[in-house]
């Protein structure tokens, strides 16, 4: 039997409450429960991992037998792993302004309905609003006698309006998700906004593709930080040779005005009081003033790769931790929004995000704005729909000419290895030159 070098247990129990309203009909609403654990054992040859649904905490012989099972499983591994030394500590979870558990589901449903009703408009053919509230109770302990527990509650809503006219179908989509407590009150404006955007998009033309100057709003610029830089700086991908940022430490890969950070410790949607390996979280400057500075790590990649900071291991309940982002952002610069549009002069303004994807090994990213406006003589003019941005990580960072002074963060979820975790992305307004903009419009 190979020797157990290390083990840890992460047990998450909790409940999810959801409400789904579709065109005035409460489609479903209610609460579900989960109980999931993951036990990781590091043997002399590698990791053996047990994922257990409906776990009952145990000790003594019963727990030892689980460790033994995981250790036997690890017999098929063949790569000895060294874990880096790391700081410990747990941040306190910020208090919620209003605990969603104190609000009845009937009241939640009624508040969500008000948001959905606010999207009523003669051209809107479908309105849909969802509320989700997830409470996780996390228990962690390991063979080094580290132990922590915390409770996190994340809640929020999405509202979507679909407008239709003569076979043209467009949508507007707004969302608010938070770790700061119940946020369904007084949000009708977002329902209204989703309808206004969907209706306005009926008259928007398709964007014309090509290289041009582009202004990115903070939400889309945040996705850019996440997709174009964040993923490629994840230590596991770098270790596999699957990132264009491998070997770039200390090299200038972007303009002086570009500083990109991941910080699990700030009170945004990706907040983690402690990471999924029991490591204290802290701010990591991935790029500092255009120079590649640090990778995001877990204990294993910290030890094997170096040049970075651990505390970036995250996991869905019952899943083994992966190196992940949490709150990723481009630091604010000193340009005003007006200066950015004046400097852009003629180009395109991209607003909101429909998500993105990256191939970090190839260094290619793609993401889509919710909509945009043509910029003419420094002014936003015609609205355009279905506009995307793609490019190469290593050349695009040199193309950021101006960073605004107005950073804001947006909540979202990020997928990797079949796991989805809450994150936030943010940035100030950015101006890019030679941005590769996609769209189906033609001259």
């Amino acid at each position: 039997m190979p020797e157990i070098q290390y083990y840890d247990l992460r047990h998450v129990t909790g409940q999810v409450t959801h409400i789904d309203i579709d065109n005035g009909v409460v489609e479903s609403a209610g609460t579900s429960f989960f109980n999931k654990a993951v036990i990781r054992v590091l043997s002399t040859t590698g990791w053996g991992v047990l994922q257990i649904d409906n776990f009952t905490p145990c000790s003594g012989k019963k727990f030892e037998s689980l460790l033994d099972t995981a250790c036997r499983l690890a017999r098929i591994t063949e790569e000895p792993v060294v874990l880096g030394d790391v700081p410990r500590g747990v941040l306190s979870v910020p208090p919620m302004r209003e605990d969603p558990r104190d609000v009845s589901i009937e009241e939640k449903s009624s508040l969500l309905s008000e948001i959905e009703q606010a999207a009523i408009h003669p051209l809107v053919v479908n309105r849909r609003a969802n509320f989700i509230e997830k409470i996780e109770n996390v228990l962690f302990n390991d063979s080094s006698e580290n132990e922590y527990s915390y409770e996190m509650c994340r809640s929020g809503f999405n509202v979507m309006a679909v407008a239709s006219r003569n076979g043209n179908v467009q949508m507007g989509y707004e969302r608010e998700h938070s770790i700061h407590g119940f946020n369904l009150r007084h949000q009708e404006r977002l329902g209204k906004k989703s309808a206004e955007i969907a209706v306005a998009l009926l008259d928007a033309g398709a964007a014309k593709a090509g290289k041009m100057r582009a202004v990115l709003d903070p939400e889309l610029a945040g996705v850019f930080a996440h997709e174009a830089v964040g993923h490629a700086s994840e230590g596991d991908l770098v270790n596999e040779g699957n990132s264009v940022l491998k070997g770039k430490t200390g090299q200038k890969i972007g303009n002086d005005n570009v500083t990109i950070v991941d910080d699990p410790g700030i009170h945004e949607f990706g907040f983690d009081p402690v990471d999924a390996e029991g490591v204290a979280v802290c701010r990591t400057e991935i790029i500092r003033k255009g120079v590649f500075n640090a990778f995001l790590h877990n204990r294993e990649t910290l030890s094997s790769l170096g040049n970075g900071v651990a505390g970036h291991a995250r996991a869905m309940p019952g899943e083994p931790p992966l190196v992940r982002m949490s709150n990723t952002f481009i630091e604010a610069g000193d340009s005003t929004e007006q200066e950015i549009f004046e400097e852009c002069k003629n180009g395109i303004f991209l607003k909101g995000s429909r998500g993105g994807q990256v191939d970090p090994g190839r260094g290619i990213f793609q993401f889509n704005a919710e909509y945009g406006y043509l910029v003419k003589n420094g002014e936003c003019t015609t609205m355009v729909r279905d506009v995307s941005l793609s490019g190469e990580i290593l050349s695009t960072l040199h193309k950021i000419i101006l960073c605004g002074n107005d950073r804001t963060m947006s909540p979202g979820y990020c997928g990797k290895g079949g796991q989805s975790v809450p994150v936030s992305d943010g940035a100030p307004h950015l101006l890019l030159y030679d941005a590769v903009v996609g769209g189906s419009g033609v001259d």
């Binding site: 109980n35 994922q51 649904d53 949508m171 190839r362 995307s388």
Partner: protein, 428 residues
Amino acid sequence: MAWIDQLLREAEKIVDETEVYFVQGNSVSAELKQKKVNLATASEDYGLGIRTIHKGRIGSSSTNNPDQWRECLAAAVASGKLATPQEWKGLPEPANLPGALLTFDSSLKIEPNVVIDLIEKMLDGAGKHPADVAAGSASLSSAVVTLANSRGIRYSNKYTSVSLSLEAIQGHSTGYEFDHSCFLDKVDPASVGQKATFFATESNNGKEIATGEYDVLLSPLAYGELLGNVFIPALSGRNVHAGRSRLAQSLGKPVTGPHITMYDDPLLKMANGSVRWDAEGTPTRKVDFIKEGILENFAYDLKTAYRFGKTSTASAIRGGFGGLPSIGHHNFIVDGKRDEVADERVMYVHNIVGAHTANPMSGDFSVELSNAFWMMGGEFETPIRSAMLSGNVFDLHQTVSGLSKESRAIGSMILPSVRIDKQRIIGN
């Protein structure tokens, strides 16, 4: 499982109808970091989903602790009180269905040594080309699904699953390949490894191309991304009646070129999604969505069918353990006249990046190409470095000029390569 009968008896006292969906499964998998197995995982999975229907109000809850069924039932009943009541004509009654299992490999052992054998074969295949292995995985799983309802249904089904994937890299050129099946002898690990390193190797030193219109051949993988993210959701009855489908007004009308047929065949032999009853217990049957270009049907589950005066097409599926039913498909097949699609010069696109960012309402998309090549006479010629493909998923189905002779399973879809003329490519 006596507790399921007990649950149904308890529920009978408080609601009109009850449905229990219980999944119990296990899996073993291994992950490669470069060429070495770094992590081995075993899992035990449980999922219990309960639906209650009372005076047209549908309630639901789930848990992965079956011992907690009383709390789960109470939560489902409470949830039903909030739901808007709707027309409801009852859960299905038991049907006399054949018992033979469609997706269960009785010879498959869910054991680490089987996983390692697959990994070794994948790595052998990968060795055929110089690109490096970056990561990969092999996983085996088995599950038993039980569906019971207050009308007397007590169905049980077993299934197995084998899945493989490999990522390769050479320079800044990447390659990805995967395979999956319910049957161990239907996956080809050596081919997965060989194709991943082939694409990474062959895509290296790609050439720039100019912006313009080109004839494009989308591989089943690339086509599946666009189909699954945009086209298939537009066939869901729920989206149709909610005003979220561009195809809503097109029943009986041509929506694709005349050579294209799309259908769901839940009883196809050896196919991964085959099943005799859907996630609500409705006996499955073939559903013709598009016949020679004409839109014939949308997909329905019971809830949507009852609400809009339609009939369930047995299209209810459940996502994951303990998930609730929603409208989907079992084996979604794109078929039609098959041709040699790569005889004449064409831009072959193996994969695309960012299909999920397409506009699901209008169908407009722009995606980055991955592993794109000039192809002639069926042979790969020059690799294309990077380019963007822009268009509309619905409109491009009007300009399909050929379907390849071979089809491939991509998840629960079975798709050919699709040749589309004059697509807009944004180059450099």
